[in-house]
């Protein structure tokens, strides 16, 4: 993609304006490194999806994800970071000494170093009918859409903490909640499992996967298959809430960057990728715990490593 019509050259370009990218921006800006943060979505990334963030140190325990995002952005801006947000990244070239990022198909920015902090996106079920019924029976946010399902029967897909916690919260509205999970055990804390199991409105279908959505004008339910017996059956419901994890936003990266089998970027402990001058931070990289605090930590290390790289 190498282009000659460069709009502006920076020391560092950060791809992603979630907590990892914003923290990297704060450190780089403060070190007087000329930095551009390019963000495809809303500033704050997944933080914006959170009503109250109770586990980020030093802030009010009911601070909303949006407010925390705006605070982090203001801090990065105050230290001199430039922002291009709500843009579409249409090209990334990591090959030369000066790396390039094209946005919206017209502007090209260059930098000596790149920090990839593009985070994750909710994993879709990937079955027929999912996009047709999104917002019309299929939801990815219990707090947003729960009240549309008052006195109705709903399915919750997933077996992690999010799925079980959201299943419990949906019982405020729904008459009946059925959790469908592909394994014979949950990947959640004992506390979350107990709360869900002790709730009289919740029942469980284990070791089963949704094959497709049933419905014509309106959503009617799903067809599921038992993972061991391969037996198929239909489960009727008015709505489906999907919480089956996140996928790393690495689609737009060139093939030269090494990813693991789950398409997450592999880094060393200094957040360095296999390409000189290219670092990765936050949920986009291979790691076990995905939290705001861990994203912030990655962002710090990536920024300090980028500064080291620039000084070499």
């Amino acid at each position: 993609m190498t282009k000659n019509n460069i709009t502006e050259t920076y020391d560092v370009i950060i791809l992603g304006g979630g907590p990892a990218g914003l923290t990297a921006g704060i450190y780089l800006g403060r070190a007087k490194v000329k930095t551009l943060i390019i963000n495809e979505g809303s500033i704050g990334g997944q933080m914006v999806l959170t009503h109250a963030i109770a586990n980020f140190p030093g802030v009010d325990i009911d601070i909303s994800g949006r407010d925390l995002s705006l605070k982090m952005k203001a801090q990065a801006k105050a230290f001199g970071c430039d922002f291009e947000s709500n843009v579409e990244v249409t090209g990334i070239d990591l090959s030369g000494e000066l790396k390039q990022v094209e946005i919206d198909g017209d502007e090209v920015f260059a930098a000596k170093s790149i920090i990839i902090a593009s985070g994750g996106t909710p994993r879709p079920l990937g079955v027929n009918g999912e996009s047709q019924f999104k917002g019309q029976g299929i939801s990815y946010c219990a707090t947003c859409d729960g009240d549309f399902f008052t006195d109705k029967e709903i399915l919750v897909v997933g077996g992690g903490n999010s799925a079980l916690e959201e299943a419990v919260s949906l019982t405020q509205y729904a008459r009946k909640v059925t959790v469908i999970h592909q394994f014979d055990h949950f990947q959640a804390t004992e506390h979350a499992i107990k709360l869900a199991q002790n709730n009289a409105k919740i029942s469980f279908i284990m070791e089963s996967e949704i094959q497709h959505i049933i419905g014509d004008q309106t959503l009617k339910g799903v067809e599921i298959m038992h993972m061991k017996t391969k037996a198929r059956s239909q489960v009727f419901a008015d709505g489906i809430f999907i919480f089956i994890g996140y996928i790393a936003n690495t689609d737009s990266l060139p093939d030269s960057i090494i990813l693991n089998a789950r398409n997450e970027i592999i880094t060393d402990e200094n957040m360095a990728t296999n390409i000189d001058g290219v670092f990765a931070a936050g949920d986009v990289r291979e790691k076990q715990f995905r939290q705001i605090t861990t994203a912030v930590s990655d962002g710090t290390i990536a920024a300090l490593s980028a500064i080291d790289y620039l000084q070499k």
Binding site: S42, V48, N86, K134, G135, G137, S139, Y140, C144, G239
Partner: protein
């Protein structure tokens, strides 16, 4: 009233007037929640580039929002926000739940080209 940087519709009269007096209108009817905020952000971001479109928000829980909540195009909607596109007073498109910038631009480009 929603705390966005968009213009707000705060009554049915307001709504009628805006929709009747502007050729292209996009209205996002939602709350200050995770699925709605990204849509407001995209609208704020597009306001300058799409100067032939008038962008508004409306608070979903306000009584006057019934004009959109009970709109026939929203009959099957079960996800916030409800986003409407009006051309010459007529609702030409409506979506339910979060939409990406690309999805919104695609609708604007087709309906209000």
């Amino acid at each position: 009233m929603l705390s966005t940087n968009l213009k707000h519709l705060t009554s049915v009269e307001d709504f009628n007037q805006v929709v009747e007096n502007n050729e292209n209108v996009m209205i996002c009817c939602g709350r200050m929640g995770p699925m709605c905020l990204p849509v407001y952000d995209v609208m704020e971001n597009l306001e300058e580039k799409y100067d032939h479109v008038t962008f508004y928000d409306m608070a979903f829980d306000a009584p006057y929002a019934n004009v959109l909540r009970s709109h026939p195009k929203a009959a099957k909607f079960m996800g916030l926000p409800f986003t409407f596109y009006f051309k010459n007073g007529e609702a030409v498109e409506a979506t339910s739940s979060i939409q990406s910038k690309k999805q919104i631009k695609d609708i604007l480009d087709v309906q209000f080209s």
